[in-house]
């Protein structure tokens, strides 16, 4: 299958690799539609993860604080 790739055309006359091969091995290339889509998706997931960190933790902490208050373990002893 690899033989189907035009390796010969990727070589410049002096034998150096040209930009075409760099483009091929770089997903979508700089500024391409593929790169933009991946960037936007990644950025969105990053933002959602922050929201998730806050919501999930708040749920846990609220639950545990309510449970501790309800248990009476932290109540002040009655005077006398």
């Amino acid at each position: 299958m690899f033989d189907a790739f035009p390796y010969d055309s990727w070589l410049t006359p002096d034998g150096a690799l040209n930009e075409e091969i760099a483009e091929f091995w770089t997903y979508g290339g700089g500024g391409s539609t593929g790169t933009w889509i991946l960037t936007v998706l990644g950025f969105a997931v990053m933002l959602v993860s922050f929201w998730g960190f806050v919501i999930l933790e708040n749920r846990k902490l609220t639950h545990q604080a309510d449970r501790l208050k309800a248990s009476g373990a932290l109540d002040r002893p009655a005077a006398g």
């Binding site: 690799l17 760099a22 933009w36 997931v45 999930l56 932290l74 002040r76």
Partner: protein, 491 residues
């Protein structure tokens, strides 16, 4: 025989141009390899911070403390990729007035730092960007880890993650663009010199942490009703000391990563401002800096183990700014003073300012970071800095300090204030009393070990059972007083 081989050998002899191409590629591969391994070594800084802070935490908060360090990587890495590196590339003039044709040193660097550029992914023609980005990313994690220790045992994990993303991917990298790059306006205009990041990493993280601490407040029971400071016993001092030693080891990678390697041009190494130096020069300073810092910390704290090792860190931070130009003897003397400054200011922050910095991060990193940059103005004034050879000076160093103090402190204070108003900064007091690990993770860090009473050291040095003290502080905070403090005194 030989005469018959000669033509074949000559035919294989590369031309000068081919040799130049191969040497350039070899040099690029050397640089790529070098930065890759500095990143590996710098991982130890984060292993160390986790152990250090985990040991300093009480048993009930060990897992939450460790998880904070681990998740620093989870949030700072993507934020730094998506906008942190772009800030470094584009804000060196203060504001990106040149657009994507970037300033002085590297034309086009601004555009290349955008996450959608061809440099920010696998690219056979670019050996440097990936590993250079990674080295800076590890610095970003470090700023988060510096703040992390100060706020343990009462901050929400999610609040910490938001704050550390802002610190690691906006604040520190903005100051790095201004004062830790060859094109930064503080460098090109004022000769600001902070070679191994005394201020741009440590000082800024410390100042940011101080702003957060003002809103976060002390741990329950940290101060008596009279405002005197109690001490909480960390659950494992051995772990803390080992963590500090790991941080020290990682610091060698940190130091090395602060240099630019250019193996085909004399002298082969440049500092971050592209002024010539050598790896050996900074190796002198970091090693003797630790020696001096330990010494200063030991004497200033009268032999306290925690502050002796923290003094080592403070000593190195105090000499990092001038590590490329200091003589080892000068570094030794200055690092001793750095170790002492950390101990004294740590005590002042805790006892006089009544700011509960659980590991002394503001003193060690913040104060000594600023102190280190000030020292360059005094002891290395006149050394040329950067590609324009602007002389470093006391005024230039002061300019950097005046720029970075508000840049660091204000975001820390303002964002934590907003989180506080949203009731998202601190865990509920009930959870803090019980310990964060049970609420956050439903588990004890040492499930097979018997629980023992928590010990608190009163301001007069008495060790007392912690439960009555903490409960009384909790009740007072909720508007009612109760049993006398200290009833659980140990015999």
């Amino acid at each position: 025989m030989i005469s018959s081989l000669l033509p074949a050998w000559l035919a294989q002899t590369p031309t000068v141009e081919e040799i130049e191409t191969r040497v350039a590629l070899d040099s690029a591969i050397l640089a790529e390899t070098f930065y890759f391994w500095t990143v590996v070594i710098m991982w130890l800084i984060h292993v160390g911070f986790m152990a250090y802070e985990g040991g300093a935490a009480r048993r009930k908060n060990v897992m939450s403390t460790a998880m904070k360090n681990i998740l620093t990587i989870a949030v700072v890495t993507p934020t730094f990729y998506y906008f942190g590196w772009y800030i470094y590339g584009c804000f060196q003039e203060g504001w990106p007035k040149s657009g994507h044709s970037s300033p002085d040193a590297f034309e086009g660097f601004c555009g290349a730092s955008a996450p959608w550029s061809s440099a920010m992914g696998p690219n056979l023609q670019d050996h440097i960007t990936g590993v250079f980005f990674l080295a800076f990313l590890l610095f970003s994690w470090t700023t988060g880890s510096i703040m992390s220790g100060a706020v343990i045992e009462r901050i929400r994990l999610s609040a910490y993650l938001i704050l550390t993303a802002i610190l690691g991917s906006v604040v520190w990298i903005m100051d790095a663009a201004w004062g830790w790059s060859s094109g930064g306006w503080l460098v090109t205009q004022f000769g600001f010199h902070d070679a191994i990041a005394s201020l741009v990493v440590h000082g800024v993280a410390g100042a940011f942490a101080f702003g957060v601490l003002l809103n976060l407040g002390p741990r329950i029971g940290k101060y008596t009703a009279d405002g005197l400071s109690r001490s909480f016993r960390g659950h494992n001092t051995h772990l803390t000391l080992m963590g500090l030693m790991l941080i020290f080891t990682g610091f060698y990678g940190f130091y090395a990563a602060c240099l630019v390697i250019q193996s085909t041009v004399f002298p082969g190494w440049l500092n971050i401002y592209l002024s010539p130096t050598t790896l050996g020069a900074i190796a002198w300073v970091i090693t003797i800096g630790f020696a001096g810092g330990f010494t200063g910390g030991w004497f200033a704290s009268k032999g306290d183990p925690f502050w002796t090792l923290s003094g080592g860190l403070a000593g190195v931070i105090a000499v990092s700014a001038g590590a490329d130009v200091y003589h080892p003897s000068l570094a030794y003397l200055l690092s001793i003073s750095g170790g002492m400054v950390a101990v004294w200011t740590g005590g002042y922050i805790e006892k006089k300012l009544r700011v509960d910095d659980a590991v002394g991060a503001v003193a060690v990193h913040g104060v000594c970071g600023f102190y280190g940059v000030l020292l360059v103005g005094i002891f290395a004034g006149g050394y040329p800095t950067g590609i324009n050879n602007v002389e470093s000076s006391f005024g230039g160093q002061l300019m950097g300090m005046m720029a970075f103090l508000p840049l660091a402190f204000l975001p820390g204070y303002v964002v934590s204030w907003i989180l506080k108003k949203m009731n998202l900064l601190r865990v509920p007091p009930e959870v803090e009393l019980e310990g964060l690990d049970l609420a956050e993770f439903g588990m004890d860090f040492y499930p097979e070990f018997e629980r023992v009473p928590e010990i608190i050291v009163e301001p007069d040095g008495r060790e007392v059972d912690g439960a009555p003290v903490l409960l009384d502080a909790y009740w007072q905070a909720n508007g009612t007083s109760s049993t006398p403090v200290g009833t659980g005194e140990r015999s």
